[in-house]
Amino acid sequence: EAGVTQSPTHLIKTRGQQATLRCSPISGHTSVYWYQQALGLGLQFLLWYDEGEERNRGNFPPRFSGRQFPNYSSELNVNALELEDSALYLCASSFGRDPGNTIYFGEGSWLTVV
């Protein structure tokens, strides 16, 4: 069974541009999470989608946004890129909304802003 898949693996953008990252959850999972893993800052919660709705967001500015499609896949959009947005963006999925459900991570998308 395929795990959480993310694309692209690497992305290089210029400051001020927009980046779009994509995620396909494990089959049967309805919840998708986005985390930012910046060097030295650990994993920071960005967004949680379930059943097509944004259920929670972390302490990030509005230029970080996303959506979940009817097939439960998701995309993360980062507008007006800043140098400090350079990080590994991890997508994760789980079955349902129970916070105790195991969250499975993908291998991430590396975003470099120059």
Binding site: L43, F45, W48, R55, P99, G100, T102, I103, F105
Partner: protein, 113 residues
């Protein structure tokens, strides 16, 4: 109050040793405490998780000890192997956090042959 503090930042042990990684939290509403293992270039993978109604949980060579009164939990790796060399993250969440796992900053473990 939402923080999870993890220590040490890095740890070097010899093969067969028992590395111990500690985490502390403030929010008493937390009721789910997973540990994740991350190898370079890979996403974090769930290793083991515990809820506060038990004080210890073992899965293979990995053990979580949980001290509810002290608001601390720790990961022990028995008979550590070079293949255990990775970064380990503790995390916490509660029913009301709605999908928001709060992660510690990670511990980079190196197990020497």
């Amino acid at each position: 109050q939402q923080q999870v503090k993890q220590s040490p930042q890095s740890l070097i042990v010899q093969k067969g040793g028992i590395p111990i990684i500690n985490c502390a939290y403030e929010n008493t509403a937390f009721d789910y405490f997973p540990w994740y293992q991350q190898f370079p270039g890979k996403g974090p993978a769930l290793l083991i998780a515990i809820r506060p109604d038990v004080s210890e949980k073992k899965e293979g060579r990995f053990t979580i000890s949980f001290n509810k009164s002290a608001k601390q939990f720790s990961l022990h790796i028995m008979d550590s192997q070079p293949g255990d060399s990775a970064t380990y993250f503790c995390a916490a969440s509660h029913g009301g956090s709605q999908g928001n796992l709060i992660f510690g900053k990670g511990t980079k473990l190196s197990v020497k042959p």
